[in-house]
Symmetry: C2
Subunit: 219 residues, 2 copies
DNA sequence: GAATTAATTTAAGCAAGCTTAAAATTATTG
DNA sequence: CAATAATTTTAAGCTTGCTTAAATTAATTC
């Protein structure tokens, strides 16, 4: 298979599309750091392959086949992430890039073997859901951005946005990990920054940080 | 890095060159299943990058830099093989192909981490030596092809040629693995096929098979 | 609803890495 | 050593996936 580029497009569409299933060429170009013209080019090929529904100047969405293919790519990526984190001991902020460089190469057999070794994980190290062999996603968890939690609430970290390595590194630095329990001590009015308690230590985090950490209410 | 093709050329040159260090364009083309013209093309680029010494119509050999780069690729490949075999439990005859598809993607950091997990293995699952971080190879072992062993000799399997998956599968099937002890019970005169004893069972192997299994004399 | 702005597509072109066919060079052999 | 054979290179061309610039279409705003 020599579909690395196509696979990257399908993953990006799957990952960054709107809740109604559509995505703009614009956004794809942005996420893949390429020109709009290149996206138009590739969309024609993907449409021709039956992976996307596409009409000139109109919205883009995955077909059933495209959905399946993309979901499998996301599955591959996330299983690699868990494997690298748990088996190889690679830190949180490095697994995404490494997994991206490995996801196109591995055979399905290897992916399935790793999944089994990991005892069929449901979420990757950032809390994103992992589709199983049949494309089924784990039951969705009800989460809110930490920024919406109120003073006094006790919450558990369930997912973080992994758009930036330094962000993840920062989170590790202040002790925020998946499944960590936090208590909101205070929310400052003027900039919405928060004082939260982690492991009985208090830290101050900006509202931008808080908006990218997703939590589950515990009380 | 987008050097997949270049890396494949360098690996092939390293792996398939003659003992005097030279290799013919011919052979590279053959091993990589591409045309001679493509090889000429790439040799110019590799020469330009300082990885090979190359003059039109003349012999090809790696420069010091090329040697280093190639050795590192071989290292990456073989560490993947050991990892897939020992940690993931992938069979002998499948690790080569899988490793080939992963070797370009992994970071040096990951390779080093895997090497450490594996306690710095010196040989891959086929008995080929693994260069260490500094490019040093393990001490060379004195081996002979099994086909040269004589009736009555006791030998230990040290390396096998991995040019063909079905060959490796066949070897597993009759019980031949690395470090296995064998005794040559008989060598048939007319076709040089051998009767050898493995785990107290006698099997008959052709001279071609025997020529691709390398052993160490035990007595 | 016309004008402006934003998004998308077309057009032309480039680099990498391949192909086949023909030409050039080197090697072999009678 | 000349003829033939084998190897290597050049030439022309193809595909993929990208680029920038210009043209087209859609969306927004006055």
């Amino acid at each position: 298979m020599q579909n690395i580029s196509k696979e990257d497009y399908l993953s990006a569409i799957y990952k960054y599309r709107e809740t109604d299933g559509t995505i703009k060429a614009n956004r794809i170009a942005d996420k893949l750091s390429i020109s709009n013209a290149a996206v138009t080019d590739m969309l024609k090929k993907l449409a021709n392959d039956g992976f996307v529904d596409y009409k000139r100047y109109k919205g883009i969405r995955l077909t059933k086949n495209g959905e399946e293919y993309a979901k499998n790519m996301v599955r591959r990526h996330r299983i690699w992430e868990v494997f690298l984190h748990q088996i190889v001991g690679m830190p949180w902020d490095k697994v995404h890039e490494e997994a991206h460089n490995l996801e196109h190469g591995a055979s399905d057999e290897l992916i399935n073997k790793m999944e089994e070794m990991l005892d069929f994980p449901e979420f990757d190290p950032h809390g994103d859901p992992i589709p199983d062999k049949n494309g089924l996603l784990p039951k969705q968890r009800h989460t809110i951005p930490l920024s919406l939690a109120a003073k006094g609430e006790a919450v558990e970290v369930v997912r973080v946005n992994d758009f930036d390595n330094s962000f993840l590194k920062y989170l590790s630095g202040i002790g925020i990990k998946l499944n960590k329990k936090l208590t909101i001590k205070n929310v400052l009015g003027f900039d919405k920054s928060m004082i939260i308690s982690i492991d009985n230590k208090e830290v101050n985090i900006s509202s931008t940080i808080a908006a990218n950490v997703f939590v589950h209410r515990k009380n």
